[in-house]
């Protein structure tokens, strides 16, 4: 205590900013590590439905995404407005899902395959027909863990 009190009456020195870069770098590394860049550009417009009984999706690296919705305005001229499936960066047909799941599984470690989840990001207005087709393909591909992507909220 006495050590600090001595200095009290003397004039204030400017605070050294030499450690400022260190602090900023620390923050920088934090954000660099946590950041996830958007990997796919969406060609379908998706507004996920709201739900209350939701769970967080863990282990993002083990999740594959299937987007279902009507094409965005720019693409409507060539693809129409009917709901479509998007895998990675392109529109896909239902038959391509098995292939997609197989390639996703190949990219992961063998031990991790049972923990892989497929997240279905479908638009509120999509019909169940297309979603059922997707689910059937997932069953055939033996990828049984799914997650209906929803937002938190009530109607």
């Amino acid at each position: 205590m006495s050590k600090f009190r001595k200095n009290g009456k003397e004039e204030m020195k400017a605070i050294s900013t030499a450690s400022l870069p260190d602090i900023v770098f620390m923050l920088l590394f934090f954000f660099m590590v946590t950041t996830v860049m958007r990997e796919t550009t969406l060609f379908v417009s998706v507004t996920t439905p709201k739900a209350t009984e939701i769970k967080k999706l863990q282990k993002k690296s083990l999740v594959s995404y299937i987007y279902i919705g009507s094409p965005i305005k720019r693409m409507q001229a060539s693809y129409g407005t009917a709901a479509r499936i998007q895998l990675n960066d392109a529109f896909a047909s239902v038959d391509e899902i098995q292939e997609f799941i197989a390639s996703e599984q190949e990219a992961r470690d063998e031990k991790e395959i049972p923990y892989m989840t497929t997240s279905i990001k479908a638009d509120e207005t999509a019909k169940m027909g297309i979603i059922t087709d997707v689910k059937q393909e997932l069953r055939k591909a033996k990828s049984l863990k799914i997650n209906y992507s929803t937002r938190k909220g009530t109607y």
Partner: protein, 182 residues
């Protein structure tokens, strides 16, 4: 080495902070903290070629929920609103043989869900959500009674026990195409 020879002037590190700030702001802007959330479900495996006869289940142990292509509900043969579904399902699951026309026990109760190909996804999710809510509330009540804690605060062993009491059995039949307006 270098300093020994000539004593090179030190590089001014004053602008280091600026560079770091620039990078920091870039990552701050691009970062997305939002966690993906959703309703987790498990699909049944594809039936194998040689299939054993499925075990017979009494009709009273099945709670039938049908959704048509106009997003209307038929629960146990009666028209219903989605808002009524949760209480109806809870009553059915927790019947424990009181009402002879309803389920024998929570472990035997099965909810059967069938939708039309023309049903809107949002309705399907709302129904799934209500059914999940019914189970979650029952599990929560049971864990409060048994352990005096909320279900989500229990440890894994205790959660398993509660899950055994109230197994979530939602069976989905393949959809029909009656509405025809897929």
């Amino acid at each position: 080495m270098a300093s020994k020879r000539r004593g090179l002037p030190e590089i001014n590190a004053g602008s280091m902070a600026d560079i770091a700030f620039l990078l920091l702001i870039f990552f701050l802007v691009t970062t997305t903290m939002d966690q993906d959330t959703g309703i987790a479900r498990k699909l049944p495996p594809m039936p194998e070629e040689e299939q054993e006869k499925p075990p017979e289940i009494k009709a009273k142990n099945i709670y039938v929920v049908l959704i048509n292509s106009n997003n209307e509900l038929l629960v146990e043969g009666e028209w219903a609103e989605i808002s009524q579904l949760k209480d109806g399902a809870k009553k059915f699951i927790n019947n424990n043989g009181v009402d002879p026309a309803s389920s024998d026990s929570p472990a035997k109760a099965i909810i059967s869900l069938q939708n039309d190909r023309g049903t809107e996804y949002v309705t399907y999710i709302r129904v799934q959500n209500e059914l999940a809510a019914a189970y979650n509330e029952l599990r929560n009540d049971a864990s409060l009674n048994k352990f005096g804690q909320r279900f989500t605060d229990l440890n894994k062993q205790q959660q398993k026990e509660i899950k055994k009491m109230y197994p979530q059995k939602i069976s989905e039949a393949e959809p029909k195409n009656i509405g025809g307006n897929e």
